[in-house]
Protein backbone atom coordinates (compact mmCIF):
# COMPACT_ATOMS: atom_id res chain seq x y z
CA UNK A 1 0.00 0.00 0.00
CA UNK A 2 1.22 3.45 -0.88
CA UNK A 3 1.15 6.95 0.49
CA UNK A 4 -1.45 9.45 -0.62
CA UNK A 5 0.11 12.72 -1.71
CA UNK A 6 -2.13 15.72 -2.13
CA UNK A 7 -1.04 19.09 -3.36
CA UNK A 8 -3.82 21.24 -4.78
CA UNK A 9 -4.38 24.86 -5.65
CA UNK A 10 -7.58 26.33 -6.93
CA UNK A 11 -8.91 29.83 -7.54
CA UNK A 12 -12.66 29.56 -8.07
CA UNK A 13 -15.27 28.76 -6.87
CA UNK A 14 -13.40 27.74 -3.71
CA UNK A 15 -9.92 29.03 -3.08
CA UNK A 16 -7.62 26.18 -2.19
CA UNK A 17 -3.93 25.99 -1.45
CA UNK A 18 -3.21 22.88 0.49
CA UNK A 19 -0.78 20.04 0.64
CA UNK A 20 -0.53 17.03 2.86
CA UNK A 21 0.37 13.39 2.82
CA UNK A 22 -1.26 10.36 4.31
CA UNK A 23 0.72 7.13 4.67
CA UNK A 24 -0.74 3.66 4.32
CA UNK A 25 -2.75 2.77 7.40
CA UNK A 26 -2.54 6.31 8.70
CA UNK A 27 -5.55 8.45 9.61
CA UNK A 28 -5.18 12.13 8.75
CA UNK A 29 -7.88 14.52 9.92
CA UNK A 30 -8.57 17.71 8.00
CA UNK A 31 -9.78 20.06 10.69
CA UNK A 32 -11.27 23.50 10.27
CA UNK A 33 -14.42 25.55 10.64
CA UNK A 34 -17.39 25.11 8.31
CA UNK A 35 -16.72 26.46 4.85
CA UNK A 36 -12.97 26.22 5.28
CA UNK A 37 -12.56 23.99 2.23
CA UNK A 38 -12.02 20.64 3.95
CA UNK A 39 -14.75 18.95 1.95
CA UNK A 40 -13.50 20.56 -1.26
CA UNK A 41 -10.10 18.99 -0.61
CA UNK A 42 -11.73 15.60 -0.17
CA UNK A 43 -13.70 16.14 -3.38
CA UNK A 44 -10.51 17.08 -5.20
CA UNK A 45 -8.99 13.75 -4.14
CA UNK A 46 -12.07 11.81 -5.26
CA UNK A 47 -12.21 13.67 -8.57
CA UNK A 48 -15.53 15.33 -7.82
CA UNK A 49 -14.23 18.90 -7.67
CA UNK A 50 -14.88 20.30 -11.09
CA UNK A 51 -12.86 23.42 -11.64
CA UNK A 52 -10.89 24.76 -14.55
CA UNK A 53 -8.53 26.50 -12.17
CA UNK A 54 -7.57 23.37 -10.25
CA UNK A 55 -3.82 22.84 -10.26
CA UNK A 56 -1.47 20.49 -8.49
CA UNK A 57 -1.11 16.77 -8.05
CA UNK A 58 -3.00 13.95 -6.38
CA UNK A 59 -1.25 10.61 -6.35
CA UNK A 60 -1.27 7.42 -4.42
CA UNK A 61 2.21 5.92 -4.71
CA UNK A 62 3.04 5.79 -8.40
CA UNK A 63 -0.62 5.92 -9.33
CA UNK A 64 -1.23 9.50 -10.44
CA UNK A 65 -4.90 10.54 -10.31
CA UNK A 66 -4.44 14.20 -11.05
CA UNK A 67 -1.48 16.13 -12.35
CA UNK A 68 -2.21 19.49 -13.90
CA UNK A 69 1.32 19.81 -15.33
CA UNK A 70 1.15 16.51 -17.15
CA UNK A 71 -2.51 16.96 -18.07
CA UNK A 72 -3.59 13.90 -16.08
CA UNK A 73 -7.11 13.97 -14.69
CA UNK A 74 -8.76 10.66 -13.99
CA UNK A 75 -12.54 10.47 -13.72
CA UNK A 76 -13.96 9.61 -10.27
CA UNK A 77 -14.81 6.14 -11.61
CA UNK A 78 -11.15 5.46 -12.36
CA UNK A 79 -9.71 6.69 -9.08
CA UNK A 80 -10.57 3.87 -6.68
CA UNK A 81 -11.35 6.19 -3.81
CA UNK A 82 -13.79 5.01 -1.16
CA UNK A 83 -15.84 7.99 -0.06
CA UNK A 84 -18.27 8.13 2.84
CA UNK A 85 -20.43 11.20 2.21
CA UNK A 86 -21.49 13.49 5.02
CA UNK A 87 -25.13 12.39 4.76
CA UNK A 88 -24.05 9.00 3.37
CA UNK A 89 -25.75 9.45 -0.03
CA UNK A 90 -27.08 5.90 0.08
CA UNK A 91 -29.23 5.00 -2.92
CA UNK A 92 -32.76 5.19 -1.47
CA UNK A 93 -34.32 2.77 -3.95
CA UNK A 94 -31.81 -0.01 -3.29
CA UNK A 95 -31.57 -2.30 -0.29
CA UNK A 96 -28.57 -2.14 2.02
CA UNK A 97 -27.05 -5.18 0.30
CA UNK A 98 -27.66 -3.72 -3.17
CA UNK A 99 -26.11 -0.44 -2.07
CA UNK A 100 -22.93 -2.32 -1.22
CA UNK A 101 -23.06 -4.71 -4.16
CA UNK A 102 -23.30 -1.90 -6.71
CA UNK A 103 -19.88 -0.64 -5.66
CA UNK A 104 -18.06 -3.94 -5.87
CA UNK A 105 -15.29 -4.30 -8.38
CA UNK A 106 -13.61 -7.52 -9.35
CA UNK A 107 -14.35 -11.00 -8.10
CA UNK A 108 -12.00 -10.90 -5.15
CA UNK A 109 -14.37 -9.04 -2.85
CA UNK A 110 -15.65 -10.87 0.21
CA UNK A 111 -19.32 -11.95 0.14
CA UNK A 112 -21.86 -9.32 1.14
CA UNK A 113 -23.14 -11.46 4.02
CA UNK A 114 -19.59 -11.62 5.42
CA UNK A 115 -19.14 -7.84 5.12
CA UNK A 116 -22.49 -7.24 6.82
CA UNK A 117 -21.69 -9.63 9.64
CA UNK A 118 -18.34 -7.97 10.24
CA UNK A 119 -19.93 -4.52 10.42
CA UNK A 120 -22.73 -5.65 12.71
CA UNK A 121 -25.34 -5.30 9.97
CA UNK A 122 -26.37 -8.97 9.72
CA UNK A 123 -30.10 -9.34 9.05
CA UNK A 124 -30.40 -5.83 7.61
CA UNK A 125 -29.37 -6.76 4.08
CA UNK A 126 -32.83 -6.35 2.61
CA UNK A 127 -33.78 -3.10 4.30
CA UNK A 128 -33.89 0.14 2.39
CA UNK A 129 -31.84 3.04 3.79
CA UNK A 130 -35.02 4.79 5.01
CA UNK A 131 -35.59 1.87 7.36
CA UNK A 132 -32.12 1.95 8.88
CA UNK A 133 -30.98 4.03 11.86
CA UNK A 134 -28.37 6.75 11.38
CA UNK A 135 -25.62 4.51 12.73
CA UNK A 136 -26.67 1.61 10.50
CA UNK A 137 -26.78 3.90 7.46
CA UNK A 138 -23.31 5.07 8.30
CA UNK A 139 -22.03 1.51 8.46
CA UNK A 140 -23.70 0.65 5.14
CA UNK A 141 -22.05 3.74 3.63
CA UNK A 142 -18.72 2.56 5.03
CA UNK A 143 -19.30 -0.94 3.66
CA UNK A 144 -20.11 0.57 0.26
CA UNK A 145 -16.98 2.72 0.34
CA UNK A 146 -14.87 -0.34 1.15
CA UNK A 147 -16.62 -2.62 -1.36
CA UNK A 148 -14.68 -1.20 -4.29
CA UNK A 149 -11.38 -2.15 -2.60
CA UNK A 150 -10.33 1.47 -2.52
CA UNK A 151 -6.77 2.66 -2.49
CA UNK A 152 -7.71 5.48 -0.16
CA UNK A 153 -10.66 5.86 2.21
CA UNK A 154 -12.18 9.33 2.48
CA UNK A 155 -14.62 10.17 5.28
CA UNK A 156 -16.56 13.43 5.12
CA UNK A 157 -17.84 14.35 8.58
CA UNK A 158 -18.94 10.75 9.00
CA UNK A 159 -20.12 11.15 12.56
CA UNK A 160 -22.02 14.40 12.26
CA UNK A 161 -25.40 12.82 11.54
CA UNK A 162 -25.47 10.22 14.31
CA UNK A 163 -26.40 10.66 17.96
CA UNK A 164 -23.78 10.62 20.70
CA UNK A 165 -24.14 6.97 21.83
CA UNK A 166 -23.94 5.66 18.25
CA UNK A 167 -20.98 7.93 17.71
CA UNK A 168 -19.07 6.26 20.54
CA UNK A 169 -19.77 2.83 19.03
CA UNK A 170 -18.70 4.05 15.61
CA UNK A 171 -15.46 5.50 16.99
CA UNK A 172 -14.68 2.03 18.32
CA UNK A 173 -15.55 0.46 15.02
CA UNK A 174 -13.38 2.88 13.09
CA UNK A 175 -10.53 2.15 15.47
CA UNK A 176 -11.09 -1.59 14.92
CA UNK A 177 -11.27 -1.06 11.16
CA UNK A 178 -7.85 0.56 11.23
CA UNK A 179 -6.39 -2.67 12.51
CA UNK A 180 -7.50 -4.51 9.40
CA UNK A 181 -7.15 -1.77 6.81
CA UNK A 182 -3.91 -0.68 5.26
CA UNK A 183 -5.20 2.14 3.07
CA UNK A 184 -4.56 5.79 3.84
CA UNK A 185 -7.62 7.30 5.51
CA UNK A 186 -8.52 10.97 5.31
CA UNK A 187 -11.15 12.21 7.73
CA UNK A 188 -12.85 15.57 7.49
CA UNK A 189 -14.18 17.00 10.72
CA UNK A 190 -14.84 20.29 12.42
CA UNK A 191 -14.73 18.57 15.79
CA UNK A 192 -11.29 18.89 17.35
CA UNK A 193 -11.97 16.31 20.02
CA UNK A 194 -12.91 13.84 17.30
CA UNK A 195 -9.74 14.63 15.37
CA UNK A 196 -7.61 14.16 18.47
CA UNK A 197 -9.31 10.90 19.20
CA UNK A 198 -9.17 9.30 15.77
CA UNK A 199 -6.32 10.79 13.81
CA UNK A 200 -2.60 10.11 13.78
CA UNK A 201 -2.08 13.51 12.26
CA UNK A 202 -4.23 16.58 11.85
CA UNK A 203 -4.08 19.16 9.09
CA UNK A 204 -5.54 22.49 10.14
CA UNK A 205 -7.44 23.98 7.19
CA UNK A 206 -8.67 27.55 7.02
CA UNK A 207 -10.11 29.30 3.97
CA UNK A 208 -8.81 26.55 1.76
CA UNK A 209 -5.24 26.79 3.06
CA UNK A 210 -3.53 24.08 5.04
CA UNK A 211 -2.02 26.05 7.90
CA UNK A 212 -0.27 23.37 9.88
CA UNK A 213 -0.05 19.64 10.10
CA UNK A 214 1.36 17.29 12.68
CA UNK A 215 0.35 15.00 15.48
CA UNK A 216 -2.71 16.30 17.34
CA UNK A 217 -0.68 16.75 20.52
CA UNK A 218 1.99 18.75 18.68
CA UNK A 219 -0.44 21.00 16.84
CA UNK A 220 -2.48 21.68 19.96
CA UNK A 221 0.59 22.40 22.06
CA UNK A 222 2.52 24.35 19.44
CA UNK A 223 0.21 26.13 17.06
CA UNK A 224 2.17 27.67 14.23
CA UNK A 225 0.42 31.00 14.39
CA UNK A 226 -2.38 32.89 16.08
CA UNK A 227 -4.98 31.67 13.58
CA UNK A 228 -4.11 28.04 14.22
CA UNK A 229 -4.27 28.71 17.96
CA UNK A 230 -7.69 30.20 17.49
CA UNK A 231 -8.85 27.33 15.29
CA UNK A 232 -7.70 24.64 17.67
CA UNK A 233 -9.65 26.40 20.39
CA UNK A 234 -6.80 27.73 22.53
CA UNK A 235 -8.48 30.38 24.64
CA UNK A 236 -5.42 32.08 26.00
CA UNK A 237 -3.53 33.90 23.34
CA UNK A 238 -1.79 37.19 23.98
CA UNK A 239 0.54 39.74 22.42
CA UNK A 240 4.08 40.36 23.63
CA UNK A 241 7.69 41.01 22.72
CA UNK A 242 10.38 38.36 22.63
CA UNK A 243 13.95 39.05 23.82
CA UNK A 244 16.89 36.72 23.55
CA UNK A 245 18.80 35.92 26.74
CA UNK A 246 21.38 33.25 27.62
CA UNK A 247 21.51 30.38 25.04
CA UNK A 248 18.31 28.36 25.01
CA UNK A 249 16.33 30.89 27.00
CA UNK A 250 14.38 34.00 26.22
CA UNK A 251 12.33 36.65 27.94
CA UNK A 252 8.77 37.41 26.99
CA UNK A 253 7.57 40.89 27.87
CA UNK A 254 3.84 40.81 28.34
CA UNK A 255 2.21 44.22 28.30
CA UNK A 256 3.87 47.60 28.39
CA UNK A 257 4.53 47.71 32.09
CA UNK A 258 6.82 44.81 32.15
CA UNK A 259 5.44 41.53 33.21
CA UNK A 260 8.28 39.30 32.13
CA UNK A 261 8.01 35.59 31.57
CA UNK A 262 10.86 33.16 31.15
CA UNK A 263 10.49 31.16 27.96
CA UNK A 264 12.43 28.64 25.92
CA UNK A 265 14.28 30.04 22.89
CA UNK A 266 14.08 27.69 19.94
CA UNK A 267 16.27 30.04 17.91
CA UNK A 268 13.50 30.72 15.45
CA UNK A 269 12.73 34.31 16.34
CA UNK A 270 14.96 37.41 16.29
CA UNK A 271 15.54 39.54 19.34
CA UNK A 272 12.83 42.17 19.94
CA UNK A 273 10.33 40.38 17.77
CA UNK A 274 6.63 41.13 18.30
CA UNK A 275 4.94 37.85 19.04
CA UNK A 276 1.63 36.18 19.72
CA UNK A 277 1.88 33.65 22.48
CA UNK A 278 -0.37 31.03 23.90
CA UNK A 279 -0.56 29.02 27.05
CA UNK A 280 -0.87 25.56 25.58
CA UNK A 281 -2.01 22.33 27.15
CA UNK A 282 -0.75 21.22 30.51
CA UNK A 283 2.07 22.83 32.40
CA UNK A 284 -0.21 25.41 33.99
CA UNK A 285 -1.07 25.26 37.64
CA UNK A 286 -3.01 27.24 40.23
CA UNK A 287 -1.63 27.48 43.73
CA UNK A 288 -1.99 29.45 46.94
CA UNK A 289 1.76 30.26 47.00
CA UNK A 290 4.20 31.44 44.36
CA UNK A 291 6.36 28.46 45.34
CA UNK A 292 9.56 29.86 43.86
CA UNK A 293 8.46 29.00 40.30
CA UNK A 294 9.95 30.90 37.38
CA UNK A 295 6.70 32.24 35.97
CA UNK A 296 4.33 32.82 38.87
CA UNK A 297 1.71 35.54 38.41
CA UNK A 298 -0.50 36.79 41.15
CA UNK A 299 -4.05 36.83 39.79
CA UNK A 300 -7.48 37.84 40.97
CA UNK A 301 -10.37 35.45 40.33
CA UNK A 302 -12.88 37.31 38.18
CA UNK A 303 -15.25 34.48 37.40
CA UNK A 304 -15.72 30.94 38.57
CA UNK A 305 -18.32 28.60 37.10
CA UNK A 306 -18.60 24.95 38.03
CA UNK A 307 -19.29 22.83 34.92
CA UNK A 308 -19.43 19.40 36.52
CA UNK A 309 -15.98 17.88 36.92
CA UNK A 310 -14.21 20.94 35.59
CA UNK A 311 -14.79 24.60 36.25
CA UNK A 312 -14.44 27.63 34.08
CA UNK A 313 -12.13 30.02 35.87
CA UNK A 314 -11.26 33.50 34.60
CA UNK A 315 -8.25 35.21 36.13
CA UNK A 316 -6.96 38.79 35.98
CA UNK A 317 -3.20 39.23 36.48
CA UNK A 318 -2.77 41.84 39.20
CA UNK A 319 0.10 43.46 37.27
CA UNK A 320 -1.90 43.56 34.03
CA UNK A 321 -5.52 44.34 34.89
CA UNK A 322 -6.47 44.59 31.21
CA UNK A 323 -5.74 40.93 30.45
CA UNK A 324 -7.73 37.78 31.17
CA UNK A 325 -6.56 34.20 31.45
CA UNK A 326 -9.16 31.46 31.15
CA UNK A 327 -8.52 28.02 32.62
CA UNK A 328 -10.54 24.85 33.06
CA UNK A 329 -9.20 23.39 36.32
CA UNK A 330 -10.76 20.45 38.13
CA UNK A 331 -13.62 21.62 40.34
CA UNK A 332 -12.20 19.60 43.23
CA UNK A 333 -8.83 21.37 42.84
CA UNK A 334 -10.48 24.78 43.13
CA UNK A 335 -12.37 23.61 46.20
CA UNK A 336 -9.07 22.48 47.74
CA UNK A 337 -7.63 25.95 47.10
CA UNK A 338 -10.77 27.52 48.62
CA UNK A 339 -10.90 29.71 45.54
CA UNK A 340 -13.61 32.36 45.45
CA UNK A 341 -14.49 35.18 43.10
CA UNK A 342 -12.57 38.27 44.24
CA UNK A 343 -9.93 36.16 45.95
CA UNK A 344 -6.43 35.75 44.62
CA UNK A 345 -4.34 32.81 43.49
CA UNK A 346 -0.95 32.26 41.92
CA UNK A 347 -0.89 31.21 38.30
CA UNK A 348 2.23 29.15 37.65
CA UNK A 349 3.17 28.67 34.00
CA UNK A 350 6.03 26.33 33.09
CA UNK A 351 8.31 27.82 30.40
CA UNK A 352 7.53 24.80 28.16
CA UNK A 353 3.82 25.64 28.28
CA UNK A 354 4.38 29.02 26.65
CA UNK A 355 4.33 28.76 22.92
CA UNK A 356 5.52 31.79 20.95
CA UNK A 357 4.65 32.63 17.34
CA UNK A 358 5.51 35.60 15.18
CA UNK A 359 2.58 38.01 14.89
CA UNK A 360 2.54 37.82 11.11
CA UNK A 361 1.37 34.39 9.97
CA UNK A 362 3.79 32.39 7.88
CA UNK A 363 2.90 32.03 4.24
CA UNK A 364 0.03 29.57 3.95
CA UNK A 365 0.65 26.19 2.43
CA UNK A 366 3.97 25.81 4.23
CA UNK A 367 2.64 23.28 6.67
CA UNK A 368 5.27 21.03 8.14
Amino acid sequence: MATLQVQVRNATPMELDASFECAAGEVVALVGPSGSGKTSLLRAIAGLLKSRTLRGRVAIGDDVWFDSERGVELAPQQRRAGLVFQHYALFPHLTAAENVAIARRGAGASPIAEVFRRLGLAGLEHRRPAHLSGGQQQRVALARALAGEPKVLLLDEPFSAVDAPSRQTLYHELAALRQTLSTPMVLVTHDLAEARRLADRVVIVDRGHSLQSGSPAHVFASPRNARVAELVGIQNHFEGTFHKQEPGWGRLDWGRDGLSLRVIDKNRLPDGCAVTWVIAGEGVDLAREAGGETNALRCEIVEQLALGETSLCTLRPVALPGERVTLNPATSHLRLLAAQVGGSLWLRIAPEAIHIMPVKALEPGQAT
Binding site: L48, A89, P92, A103
Partner: protein, 261 residues
Protein backbone atom coordinates in the same frame (compact mmCIF):
# COMPACT_ATOMS: atom_id res chain seq x y z
CA UNK B 1 -87.52 7.72 -32.04
CA UNK B 2 -84.62 6.95 -29.77
CA UNK B 3 -84.57 7.66 -26.13
CA UNK B 4 -83.84 11.33 -25.54
CA UNK B 5 -83.14 13.43 -22.57
CA UNK B 6 -85.89 15.59 -21.21
CA UNK B 7 -84.23 18.86 -22.07
CA UNK B 8 -84.00 18.12 -25.76
CA UNK B 9 -87.22 17.84 -27.72
CA UNK B 10 -87.26 17.10 -31.40
CA UNK B 11 -89.79 18.95 -33.43
CA UNK B 12 -91.07 17.83 -36.77
CA UNK B 13 -88.28 17.57 -39.38
CA UNK B 14 -85.32 18.49 -37.40
CA UNK B 15 -86.11 21.68 -35.65
CA UNK B 16 -85.16 21.34 -31.98
CA UNK B 17 -84.68 23.48 -28.97
CA UNK B 18 -81.39 22.88 -27.15
CA UNK B 19 -81.54 24.05 -23.60
CA UNK B 20 -78.06 25.12 -22.57
CA UNK B 21 -77.89 27.09 -19.36
CA UNK B 22 -78.42 30.64 -20.43
CA UNK B 23 -81.15 30.19 -22.99
CA UNK B 24 -82.65 28.32 -25.94
CA UNK B 25 -80.61 27.71 -29.02
CA UNK B 26 -82.42 26.44 -32.03
CA UNK B 27 -80.42 24.00 -34.08
CA UNK B 28 -81.45 22.55 -37.39
CA UNK B 29 -80.54 18.93 -38.02
CA UNK B 30 -81.93 16.34 -40.37
CA UNK B 31 -84.00 13.59 -38.90
CA UNK B 32 -81.91 11.12 -40.81
CA UNK B 33 -78.82 11.85 -38.69
CA UNK B 34 -80.83 11.23 -35.60
CA UNK B 35 -81.63 7.76 -36.81
CA UNK B 36 -77.96 6.94 -37.30
CA UNK B 37 -77.44 6.43 -33.65
CA UNK B 38 -74.49 4.35 -32.53
CA UNK B 39 -73.14 3.81 -29.11
CA UNK B 40 -69.36 3.65 -29.05
CA UNK B 41 -67.56 4.87 -32.16
CA UNK B 42 -64.94 2.14 -32.09
CA UNK B 43 -63.13 3.57 -35.07
CA UNK B 44 -62.68 6.85 -33.21
CA UNK B 45 -61.70 4.98 -30.05
CA UNK B 46 -59.03 3.14 -32.04
CA UNK B 47 -57.68 6.42 -33.48
CA UNK B 48 -57.70 8.03 -30.01
CA UNK B 49 -55.98 5.10 -28.39
CA UNK B 50 -53.38 4.80 -31.14
CA UNK B 51 -52.72 8.52 -30.96
CA UNK B 52 -52.41 8.44 -27.16
CA UNK B 53 -50.12 5.41 -27.11
CA UNK B 54 -47.92 6.65 -29.95
CA UNK B 55 -47.70 10.16 -28.52
CA UNK B 56 -46.74 8.89 -25.05
CA UNK B 57 -44.29 6.31 -26.41
CA UNK B 58 -42.60 8.59 -28.92
CA UNK B 59 -42.47 11.53 -26.54
CA UNK B 60 -41.05 9.63 -23.58
CA UNK B 61 -37.39 9.31 -24.69
CA UNK B 62 -36.97 12.92 -25.89
CA UNK B 63 -39.09 14.04 -22.92
CA UNK B 64 -36.70 12.35 -20.50
CA UNK B 65 -33.70 13.82 -22.30
CA UNK B 66 -35.10 17.37 -22.31
CA UNK B 67 -36.37 17.08 -18.73
CA UNK B 68 -33.05 15.83 -17.40
CA UNK B 69 -31.17 18.49 -19.32
CA UNK B 70 -33.41 21.24 -17.95
CA UNK B 71 -33.24 19.79 -14.44
CA UNK B 72 -29.46 19.50 -14.29
CA UNK B 73 -28.19 22.49 -16.22
CA UNK B 74 -28.45 26.18 -15.74
CA UNK B 75 -27.75 28.64 -18.50
CA UNK B 76 -28.67 32.11 -19.52
CA UNK B 77 -31.61 31.37 -21.81
CA UNK B 78 -33.07 28.57 -19.71
CA UNK B 79 -36.08 30.48 -18.29
CA UNK B 80 -37.05 31.49 -21.82
CA UNK B 81 -36.73 27.92 -23.07
CA UNK B 82 -38.86 26.71 -20.17
CA UNK B 83 -41.47 29.37 -20.87
CA UNK B 84 -41.62 28.37 -24.55
CA UNK B 85 -42.03 24.76 -23.51
CA UNK B 86 -44.96 25.75 -21.29
CA UNK B 87 -46.65 27.73 -24.03
CA UNK B 88 -48.94 24.95 -25.29
CA UNK B 89 -50.36 24.70 -21.75
CA UNK B 90 -51.41 28.33 -21.72
CA UNK B 91 -52.41 29.10 -25.31
CA UNK B 92 -55.98 28.35 -26.39
CA UNK B 93 -55.89 24.99 -28.26
CA UNK B 94 -57.55 26.53 -31.30
CA UNK B 95 -54.77 29.10 -31.49
CA UNK B 96 -52.12 26.40 -31.32
CA UNK B 97 -54.08 24.35 -33.85
CA UNK B 98 -54.41 27.31 -36.17
CA UNK B 99 -50.69 28.02 -36.23
CA UNK B 100 -49.83 24.34 -36.60
CA UNK B 101 -52.26 24.21 -39.51
CA UNK B 102 -50.40 27.11 -41.10
CA UNK B 103 -47.05 25.52 -40.29
CA UNK B 104 -48.01 22.13 -41.72
CA UNK B 105 -49.94 23.45 -44.73
CA UNK B 106 -48.47 23.34 -48.20
CA UNK B 107 -47.98 27.08 -48.17
CA UNK B 108 -45.36 26.72 -45.43
CA UNK B 109 -41.74 25.74 -45.94
CA UNK B 110 -42.23 22.43 -44.15
CA UNK B 111 -45.44 21.60 -46.02
CA UNK B 112 -43.97 22.60 -49.38
CA UNK B 113 -40.83 20.57 -48.78
CA UNK B 114 -42.84 17.52 -47.75
CA UNK B 115 -45.12 17.89 -50.76
CA UNK B 116 -42.12 18.07 -53.06
CA UNK B 117 -40.07 15.28 -51.55
CA UNK B 118 -42.50 12.78 -50.06
CA UNK B 119 -46.04 11.56 -49.95
CA UNK B 120 -46.36 12.59 -46.30
CA UNK B 121 -49.09 15.14 -45.70
CA UNK B 122 -49.38 16.79 -42.35
CA UNK B 123 -52.72 18.49 -42.73
CA UNK B 124 -55.86 16.39 -42.21
CA UNK B 125 -53.82 13.23 -41.79
CA UNK B 126 -52.97 10.97 -38.88
CA UNK B 127 -49.25 11.77 -39.28
CA UNK B 128 -49.94 15.46 -38.93
CA UNK B 129 -52.19 14.81 -35.98
CA UNK B 130 -49.46 12.77 -34.31
CA UNK B 131 -46.84 15.45 -34.92
CA UNK B 132 -49.16 18.13 -33.53
CA UNK B 133 -49.91 15.91 -30.57
CA UNK B 134 -46.19 15.43 -29.89
CA UNK B 135 -45.58 19.16 -29.94
CA UNK B 136 -48.47 20.20 -27.71
CA UNK B 137 -47.86 17.42 -25.20
CA UNK B 138 -44.23 18.31 -24.58
CA UNK B 139 -44.97 20.24 -21.36
CA UNK B 140 -47.19 17.42 -20.03
CA UNK B 141 -44.35 14.95 -20.51
CA UNK B 142 -41.42 17.16 -19.53
CA UNK B 143 -42.76 18.95 -16.45
CA UNK B 144 -43.29 16.00 -14.09
CA UNK B 145 -40.11 14.26 -15.24
CA UNK B 146 -38.07 17.43 -14.83
CA UNK B 147 -39.34 17.80 -11.26
CA UNK B 148 -38.28 14.28 -10.28
CA UNK B 149 -34.86 14.65 -11.87
CA UNK B 150 -34.34 17.95 -10.09
CA UNK B 151 -35.30 16.30 -6.79
CA UNK B 152 -32.49 13.73 -7.01
CA UNK B 153 -29.69 14.98 -4.75
CA UNK B 154 -26.52 15.50 -6.75
CA UNK B 155 -24.59 13.61 -4.07
CA UNK B 156 -26.31 10.40 -5.24
CA UNK B 157 -24.87 10.86 -8.72
CA UNK B 158 -21.46 11.57 -7.24
CA UNK B 159 -21.75 8.54 -4.97
CA UNK B 160 -22.49 6.43 -8.03
CA UNK B 161 -19.45 7.80 -9.88
CA UNK B 162 -17.19 7.18 -6.91
CA UNK B 163 -18.62 3.64 -6.73
CA UNK B 164 -17.31 3.18 -10.26
CA UNK B 165 -20.56 3.55 -12.19
CA UNK B 166 -20.16 5.28 -15.53
CA UNK B 167 -22.51 8.03 -16.66
CA UNK B 168 -24.85 5.67 -18.48
CA UNK B 169 -25.04 3.14 -15.62
CA UNK B 170 -25.56 5.99 -13.18
CA UNK B 171 -28.48 7.06 -15.35
CA UNK B 172 -30.02 3.61 -15.70
CA UNK B 173 -29.30 2.23 -12.22
CA UNK B 174 -29.73 5.33 -10.07
CA UNK B 175 -31.42 8.23 -11.84
CA UNK B 176 -34.13 6.42 -13.82
CA UNK B 177 -35.38 4.31 -10.90
CA UNK B 178 -35.52 7.44 -8.75
CA UNK B 179 -37.25 9.46 -11.46
CA UNK B 180 -39.77 6.78 -12.45
CA UNK B 181 -42.75 8.39 -10.65
CA UNK B 182 -42.14 11.39 -12.89
CA UNK B 183 -42.04 9.13 -15.93
CA UNK B 184 -45.33 7.49 -14.93
CA UNK B 185 -46.89 10.92 -14.37
CA UNK B 186 -45.57 12.21 -17.67
CA UNK B 187 -46.89 9.22 -19.63
CA UNK B 188 -50.27 9.25 -17.86
CA UNK B 189 -50.77 12.99 -18.26
CA UNK B 190 -49.69 12.91 -21.90
CA UNK B 191 -51.97 9.99 -22.73
CA UNK B 192 -54.95 11.49 -20.89
CA UNK B 193 -54.40 14.88 -22.46
CA UNK B 194 -54.09 13.34 -25.92
CA UNK B 195 -57.35 11.44 -25.46
CA UNK B 196 -59.09 14.64 -24.46
CA UNK B 197 -57.53 17.08 -26.93
CA UNK B 198 -60.14 18.71 -29.12
CA UNK B 199 -59.24 22.09 -30.51
CA UNK B 200 -55.86 21.20 -31.98
CA UNK B 201 -57.14 17.89 -33.34
CA UNK B 202 -60.06 19.55 -35.08
CA UNK B 203 -57.90 22.30 -36.55
CA UNK B 204 -55.05 20.13 -37.78
CA UNK B 205 -56.81 16.82 -38.38
CA UNK B 206 -60.38 17.66 -39.11
CA UNK B 207 -62.74 14.77 -38.55
CA UNK B 208 -61.89 12.05 -41.04
CA UNK B 209 -63.30 8.74 -39.80
CA UNK B 210 -60.59 6.17 -39.13
CA UNK B 211 -57.91 8.82 -39.74
CA UNK B 212 -58.27 11.85 -37.58
CA UNK B 213 -61.63 11.54 -35.90
CA UNK B 214 -60.80 10.95 -32.25
CA UNK B 215 -63.21 10.17 -29.44
CA UNK B 216 -63.54 13.78 -28.38
CA UNK B 217 -64.36 14.78 -31.96
CA UNK B 218 -66.79 11.88 -32.19
CA UNK B 219 -68.51 13.09 -29.00
CA UNK B 220 -68.87 16.52 -30.57
CA UNK B 221 -70.28 14.95 -33.71
CA UNK B 222 -72.74 12.85 -31.73
CA UNK B 223 -73.94 15.86 -29.76
CA UNK B 224 -74.33 17.77 -33.00
CA UNK B 225 -76.46 14.87 -34.20
CA UNK B 226 -78.48 14.83 -30.95
CA UNK B 227 -77.25 11.36 -30.23
CA UNK B 228 -76.76 12.04 -26.57
CA UNK B 229 -76.67 8.42 -25.58
CA UNK B 230 -73.65 7.69 -27.72
CA UNK B 231 -72.07 10.94 -26.53
CA UNK B 232 -72.60 9.80 -22.97
CA UNK B 233 -71.03 6.42 -23.55
CA UNK B 234 -67.93 7.92 -25.13
CA UNK B 235 -67.71 10.77 -22.65
CA UNK B 236 -67.85 8.28 -19.79
CA UNK B 237 -65.09 6.26 -21.42
CA UNK B 238 -62.94 9.40 -21.52
CA UNK B 239 -63.83 10.28 -17.93
CA UNK B 240 -62.73 6.80 -16.89
CA UNK B 241 -59.42 7.20 -18.74
CA UNK B 242 -58.81 10.53 -17.06
CA UNK B 243 -59.61 9.13 -13.60
CA UNK B 244 -57.22 6.23 -14.17
CA UNK B 245 -54.52 8.65 -15.35
CA UNK B 246 -54.93 10.95 -12.37
CA UNK B 247 -54.97 7.96 -9.99
CA UNK B 248 -51.75 6.70 -11.59
CA UNK B 249 -50.12 10.11 -11.19
CA UNK B 250 -51.02 10.27 -7.51
CA UNK B 251 -50.08 6.67 -6.82
CA UNK B 252 -46.71 7.18 -8.48
CA UNK B 253 -46.13 10.38 -6.57
CA UNK B 254 -46.88 8.70 -3.27
CA UNK B 255 -44.44 5.90 -3.97
CA UNK B 256 -41.61 8.22 -4.84
CA UNK B 257 -38.46 6.53 -3.49
CA UNK B 258 -36.89 9.86 -2.62
CA UNK B 259 -39.67 10.60 -0.14
CA UNK B 260 -38.86 7.51 1.86
CA UNK B 261 -36.20 9.28 3.81
Amino acid sequence: MQKMHGFMRPKAHGRVIFCAGSGFVPIRRSAQRLRHNRRMDWQAARVSLLLAVLTAALLLPPGVAVARWLALTSWRGKPLAEALLMLPLLLPPTVVGFYLLLLFGQASIIGAWLAAHSSVRLVFSFDGLLLASLLINLPFMVQPIQRTFAAIPHSLREAAWVCGLGRWRTFTRIELPLAWPGLVSGVALTAAHTLGEFGVVLMVGGSIPGQTRTLSIAIFDRVQAFDLHAAHVMALALVLCSVVAVALVFAADRRRPLQER
